[in-house]
């Protein structure tokens, strides 16, 4: 798909001129007969597939929104204080950031920064976890892979082969899957109660229900909604309801 191809291109960093083209297309559109003509010609793109792409784009945007705000929150905390609470919070937020579904290159950066931070804070168990995930991820630069191997080996030698965390009450368990509530920046574990943003699908703590979702800042958390309509055509038959 187009999206995937371009994402690969982006990882290799040759995207400057394409961004320009994207910008221009907006303003030239009213004058051009059909901006999508290339697509028309060489492939029959089903609208269903394209709508899926929109959904995919929305999901990517949601993950980056939540992840980036988590990281920005962490930076605010890290700059803030030396108190034990701040240090713990710093470590937690760094760990949460690694769980945002980012592009592999970005995920590697997040894992690496969390790995370094947790190792420095003598949280060897979680640091070892980041190392393993970084190595599993693949595609990371050789230097980073080598560093992760070293850190992993160092972690596994700690505490007599059974690494532990120096911060005992760290609220993070890499094996327990969760969604990050981006209002409170706490994990919403699978199976526990949650409130959902009907627009982006982001999940929040139940206490956040009724607030305006920070993901996009447009929708209300927990509002009833029928679902996004993004396919139209020359026709105009009636609508329907999503599940």
């Amino acid at each position: 798909m187009v999206l995937r191809r371009e994402r690969r291109a982006s990882a290799h960093g040759r995207d400057g001129d394409e961004e320009e083209r994207g910008k221009n297309s907006l303003f030239s559109l009213p004058l051009s007969p059909n901006p999508n003509n290339n697509n028309h010609r060489d492939q029959v793109v089903s609208s269903r597939r394209e709508a899926d792409e929109l959904k995919e784009l929305l999901a990517i945007a949601r993950e980056y929104n939540v992840g980036l705000r988590c990281e920005l929150a962490r930076k605010a905390v890290a700059a803030d204080a030396e108190s034990p609470d701040a240090i713990k919070r710093n470590a937690e937020l760094a760990a949460y950031f690694t769980h945002a579904k980012l592009q592999p290159a970005h995920a590697a950066l997040a894992l690496r920064s969390a790995m370094v931070l947790h190792y420095k804070l003598r949280c060897f168990a979680s640091a070892a976890g980041f190392c393993r995930r970084l190595l599993e991820l693949g595609g990371a630069p050789q230097k980073v892979v080598a560093q992760a191997r070293q850190v992993l080996a160092a972690c596994e030698q700690q505490d007599g082969g059974n690494p532990t965390n120096a911060i005992a009450d760290l609220e993070y368990d890499e094996r327990n899957p969760f969604d990050l509530c981006s209002v409170t920046f706490t994990p919403v574990y699978r199976g526990s109660a949650f409130a959902e943003d009907p627009f982006s699908g982001a999940r929040f703590q139940p206490s956040c229900e009724g607030q305006v979702s920070p993901v996009g800042g447009v929708s209300r958390i927990g509002a009833a909604a029928t679902g996004m309509v993004s396919v139209g055509g020359g026709g105009g038959s009636g609508g329907g309801r999503g599940a």
């Binding site: 910008k23 929109l54 980036l68």
Partner: protein, 513 residues
């Protein structure tokens, strides 16, 4: 025993509601219906022009109805019978709205509404008449009007004189200085002393007050000869038949209405020609128009000639014409409307020419409305925005996605609307020409042209935004990356994928969550 029921009223109303105007006409001619009830019924149902035929001799009702259905000529005729200031004013306003400068001028002259008259002259660029209104105002000693009319006329010297005559030498000095009349300025400044000198200095520094530009110089607006509606042409035709067959008194109503139009159209011509002498307006009413009345009488008795005003009297005579013996008289009567109407500029089409008359095409559905209709079927927020209904779009986004905050979407809404409608600037003072831009469409996909507006957001554009976001994150610019992510979040619900017909039969709509 047989109970006789007169069905004419309900037959009449039924025929009217079914627009069977021949039946309506037959009932009108039968004379079975009369009175205020029918007139007010017709008026309420939106048939003032039909009602006009029932309001034969009641000048006030005729006037009101004629104004309502836009027959300025009939209204003028009725107004001359009533001859009241309020009537003339109403007529003048309505005539101006129709662009009938001559009638408006005449009406304002009758009530001596100099302010409106001068404005009218300024509007149509009648500079010589405007100059006369200025002189007249001076003669009346009406300083305010004099100054105002002089401003309309762009006559700076007269403005200065007006201010001077009103005992305002300082203002006059300022006016003279700004108009470049240095001699006057110096003289007046001296006269007004220190204040005058200062005023003159201020006036010299100020901008010159230019007379307004005349956009359309001329007289009555040109009119298309529109077929006046079935009823009227039927009436004329039927009248022709009836009279040809030997004359039916009932035809008189229809004929007199048509005749009145002719009479007034002709009568308005001499008034416009400038018989209105502004220097001596006492003579105006008595003189020029008095003469005209005289002509009418002459024509009436003469039974032909110019034939202008004859019908005002002819209508009265109709009662006496029931007999067949005046056939020759009536034949003349009949032909006159054709001749008169042919002569009257922009007059209504007569029965003979009705087949050739220009029929204005009925206006189509505005594009915005068509877009809205298509969009309300597809329930796409972006199409509602493009069709100029952001409120409906917001309601849709609220029910579909739980949106409650729309401020972040504002720029995108504006962009969508701007992309759907192009605008070309019009003439000065005229609104811009709006050009709706429909969605791009390819002949392969759609048999019919698109019924949807063009939308600016497409998948390639979103992908460009996505790449920008990735770039920012890769570079560690998290705040900018977050902004790009938000932009994506805002653009996705406003992006529409066009359905390809036939290539994908099922699941035309995509829903999730």
């Amino acid at each position: 025993m047989v109970l006789e029921v007169d069905p004419s009223e309900y037959v009449f109303k039924l025929a009217l509601s079914q627009k069977r105007f021949d039946t309506v006409l037959a009932l009108v001619r039968s004379g079975a219906l009369c009175g205020q009830a029918v007139v007010s019924y017709l008026r309420a149902k939106g048939f003032p022009e039909v009602a006009l035929h029932f309001a034969g001799d009641d000048a006030r009702a005729r006037f009101d109805l004629a104004l309502e259905c836009g027959s300025i000529e009939v209204a003028l005729d009725a107004a001359r019978q009533l001859d009241e200031p309020a009537t003339w004013r109403a007529l003048g306003g309505e005539a101006l709205r129709h662009g009938n400068v001559a009638v408006a001028e005449f009406a304002y002259q009758r009530v001596r509404d100099y302010g409106r008259l001068a404005f009218l002259y300024a509007l149509v660029g009648a500079t010589d008449k405007l100059a006369k209104t200025v002189k007249l105002a001076a003669a009346r000693g009406d300083a305010r009007s004099r100054w105002q009319f002089a401003t309309y006329a762009g006559d700076a010297a007269e403005r200065v004189r007006a201010l001077e005559a009103a005992g305002l030498p300082a203002l006059a000095a300022a006016a003279a200085a700004s108009a470049g009349l240095e001699e006057d300025a110096a003289r007046l400044a001296e006269e007004a002393g220190e204040a005058g000198a200062r005023a003159a200095a201020a006036g010299a520094a100020g901008a010159r007050l230019a007379a307004p530009e005349v956009l359309q110089r001329g007289e009555n607006w040109p009119l298309l000869s529109v077929s006046k509606g079935l009823f009227e042409s039927l009436a004329a035709k039927a009248a022709a038949n009836a009279v040809g067959a030997g004359g039916a008194g009932a035809a008189a109503a229809a004929v007199s209405a048509a005749a009145a139009a002719t009479a007034s159209a002709a009568a308005s011509a001499p008034g416009k020609k400038g018989a209105f002498d502004l220097d001596d307006d006492a003579e105006v009413d008595a003189g020029a128009w008095g003469d005209d009345d005289g002509e009418l009488d002459l024509d009436g008795s003469g039974g032909g000639g110019g034939g202008d005003g004859a019908f005002a009297d002819a209508g009265g005579d109709d009662e006496n014409e029931n007999g067949d013996d005046d056939a020759g008289w009536e034949m003349e009567d009949l032909e006159l409307p054709d001749v008169g109407r042919g002569g009257a500029a922009g007059g209504a089409s007569a029965s003979a020419s009705s087949s050739k008359a220009f029929v204005a095409p009925s206006p189509g559905v505005p594009v915005d409305a068509r877009w809205l209709k298509a969009a309300s079927g597809s329930k796409l927020a972006a199409e509602h925005v493009a069709a100029g209904a952001p409120d409906a779009a917001m309601r849709l986004l609220n029910s579909q996605l739980g949106f409650v905050e729309f401020a972040p979407l504002r720029p995108y809404f504006l962009e969508i609307r701007a992309a759907a409608v192009a605008a070309a600037p019009g003439l000065p003072g005229c609104p811009a020409v709006r050009v709706p831009l429909p969605a791009a469409h390819s002949a392969d996909d759609d048999a019919s042209p698109p019924r949807n507006p063009a939308l600016p957001y497409s998948l390639p554009l979103l992908e460009a935004k996505l790449r920008a976001m990735y770039k920012h994150v890769t570079e560690g610019k998290f705040s900018e990356g977050l902004r790009s992510a938000d932009a994506l979040l805002h653009l996705v619900p406003l992006t529409v994928r066009r359905r390809r017909r036939r290539s994908f039969g099922v699941s035309e709509f995509f829903f999730w969550f």
